[in-house]
């Protein structure tokens, strides 16, 4: 955000209120899209110059600023020039260095060597640079409604780029968010304040312990499009804006562009295990991502539940563990025991041990290398 860029939010007391785009913005978005359509094939620079003058229906400057950035990101541009620009630059500038000819004479001479007019040579000189590239069609048919959603996502991500930490209350899809947060190097503490309440995710980064850092803002912002897949959510972020901390709130129903549907499996390893197990134990159901299990105020997320089709009391939970230490496994087992989960299988990656100490006793632990042995699991559960 440059200092003189119009603001797409306002600060009210200790809160930051994003200026989200809504239905009433569609008319000016339509006009803007039409205007851009008119400039397809012309230089980006010309479109930029046009936008410095008001449109027939003008949008608020803060919102327009965000929308233009989205359009720049979505809209491809292409180079069109009779002479390859790099070649034109090399020949023309080197010729200019060697002869005292006038500019006009030089342009004419070099242009003729390319078989083009001097104006065409001049037009080609920087045709590959950002401002000179030609505007291309937007992908698909971008409606004002979709443009508004995309702009809102960018706006919120921009604000979260200044976030020092995020609290998320979610119902449904919590597991995906936890996985994404961990993949992005965030610390994610999951709790459930009361039985039956929504899961609460506290997200921040390791270094946030020492300072208000916006180092993790990008990672925090990347979670926003995935919130659309939660049945319900409420996001609260502490953002460092204009030298002070302000709270940003977002909730179910806020118009944000969603991510693609979450993948069914976190990894090939899990997908392969589910397939293998269904094959070797056809009378068992494999439930992907069963309900999280409350342990006191915390939640744990097993990867699979294996349940006998005709006898539901025969149920096992399976967790695939990547990097691990015996201490980590012990804590994990304690959590499951506190939750009174008797039937648990921990599958641990043999090549990802972080210590060589003994494994905790009294646990069903299966080592694997590249593939979890589905037959061995079947032997355990039957």
């Amino acid at each position: 955000m440059s200092a003189d860029a119009p603001r797409s939010y306002r600060l009210l007391g200790g809160a930051v209120i994003p200026r989200l785009l809504v239905d009433s913005d569609y008319p000016w978005l339509r006009v803007l899209l039409d205007e851009r359509e008119r400039f397809v094939g012309r230089a980006q620079r010309e479109f930029d110059a046009r936008l410095r003058d008001p449109l027939p229906v003008e949008g608020p400057s803060g919102k327009k600023h965000v929308v233009l950035r989205v359009l720049a990101q979505l809209g491809r541009s292409e180079r069109r020039s009779p002479v390859p620009p790099r070649h034109a630059r090399r020949l023309l500038f080197e010729a200019a260095a060697l002869t005292p000819e006038s500019r006009t004479a030089l342009l004419a001479r070099v242009a003729s060597s390319f078989g083009v007019a001097p104006a065409e040579l001049e037009g080609s000189l920087f045709a590959d640079l950002p401002g000179e590239r030609r505007l291309a069609d937007l992908p698909g048919s971008l409606s004002p409604a979709e443009l508004a959603l995309r702009a809102n996502l960018r706006l919120i991500q921009g604000l979260l780029g200044r976030a020092t930490g995020v609290t998320l209350e979610v119902e449904g899809n919590a597991r995906v968010l936890v996985r994404l947060a961990k993949l992005r190097g965030l610390l994610c503490i999951v709790s459930r304040p009361a039985p039956g309440a929504e899961a609460v995710l506290e997200l921040s980064g390791p270094l946030a312990l020492f300072r208000h850092t916006v180092l993790y803002g990008r990672a925090l912002g990347s979670l926003v499009p995935h919130l659309a897949w939660c049945q319900r959510f409420r996001l609260r972020a502490r953002c460092l804006l204009e030298d002070r901390l302000a709270d940003l709130q977002l909730a179910t129903g806020d118009p944000i562009f969603p991510s693609a549907e979450p993948r069914r499996f976190d990894s090939q390893l899990e997908e392969r295990f589910a397939k293998d197990f269904r094959k070797v134990a056809p009378d068992w159901d494999v439930l992907r991502e069963p309900e999280p299990i409350p342990v006191g105020a915390r939640l744990v997320f097993p990867d699979f539940a294996l349940q006998h089709r005709s006898d539901h009391s025969r149920r096992w939970l399976v967790e695939l563990v990547g990097f691990w230490t015996p201490d980590y496994l012990r804590r994990k087992l304690t959590l499951y025991r506190e939750a009174r989960v008797p039937n648990l299988i921990l599958c641990i990656a043999e090549d990802r041990a972080c210590a060589e100490e003994e494994l905790p006793a009294g646990a069903v632990i299966l080592r694997f290398r590249r593939r979890v042995d589905a037959t061995a699991i079947r032997r355990i559960v039957t």
Binding site: A3, D4, A5, F93, R103, L209, F210, C354, E357
Partner: protein, 470 residues
Amino acid sequence: MFGRAQHLLASRAVHLRYDHGTIVLAHVPAGLDLTGAPGVLWDARVGVHRAPASMHAALVRWLRDRAIPLVDRAPGDHGPTTGWFDPGLRDYQAAALCAWELAGRRGVIVLPTGSGKTHVALGAMATTRLPVLCLVPTRVLLEQWQREIAAVYSHPVGCHGDGRHDVRPVTVATYESAYRHMDDLGAHFGLLIVDEVHHFGCGFRDEALEMTLANARLGLTATPPRDAAHASRLAELIGPTVYELAIGDLTGRFLASFDTVVLHLDLTEAERIRYAALSQVFTSTLAELFRVVPQGTWPDVVRAASRTAEGRHALAAWREGRRLLALTDAKRRALQALLARHRDARVLVFTADNASAYAIAREHLIMPLTCDIGRPERDAVLDAFRQGRLRALVSSRVLNEGLDVPDADVGVVVGGALGEREHVQRVGRLLRPSPGKRALVYELVTRHTIEVSQAWRRRQGLVSRRSAQL
């Protein structure tokens, strides 16, 4: 038996582990008081003690001083690097390196542009043989540093930035890439070298330096921060200034002498009216802000202005004024005359922005060197300039920092945006010595505008760096 004893010791020891730019202390025995342990705080989020990775060495010392058993699983030093050749340091470069060694391998070396700061860094790499991460500000410098290292190091050099993520015992990374990936990179190196280190210490991206285990740290700059708070923070992150030479100290033997000519120019009538209108908008608003924040720096005022619509309007007017001054009609004409006059010399033209650089390139048919010009073309352009196939280059920022620019004799400063520091670096581009060389720097300054005071300040910057050549 020995194995069991070791196992027993390990089970009672504090374990240190690198975790995304921090050090986690695990297995801390009950009753062990960690008050005063460098950088350590209790992380209630996950129930462990944690310290920034940069505190690793101090923390290990602190634990050992108290005879606390310790298992250090923070990787850091992966053993010495091999395959180094002698980089052949000049006497002042060797002295700088020696000062850094004496300071415990932590500190900033200040040398003028063109005096071979990178060579000092190569000396540090070859001497310490520690796995090293070199941070450079731009993608342009990424390539250049790799090339220079490859000349004295027989193994492949890693590269992190510009779309590449190749980590090796000797790796060069851009600031941006390091900032984004230091949680991973930070575990692998014993030596951290930061080129143009003055960019750190003011809050922006400082975390990158806190997230690495590297205990040996070397900063390089031609323009160290003079502001006390900035210098103090930099000392904390890298170390204090351990060696400093200015242009005047090396002029003659190692750097060429130079003269400066200031050309005072006028605005046209239309430009004057437009500039006056813009000035009225920004001076009234910004003067009011300076009154409210009397001790405020320019960034403070910009921050304050950006909070109101009126302030933002004033900032926009200020930028528009800058754009107008960047390439006035008189500057265009003066530049034409200077290029004709120095037709046989190698000329570098410096502008305030890319738009002016392209305008000059079109008008005077000289090659622009901007961030938009890709790496292969940039290398080819510098090569052509070196061989004399190009006689002039125009640039706004690419030539400012670090880039190894071939010998040039004449500089024309059409405009600048970054003040004293930028000017010192630009002048430095012309000081590569050759027999009988005396470089010439022209400054184009528009009368009765903000440029007059800016030009005065940037020349003061050169004077304060003890150059006797003005």
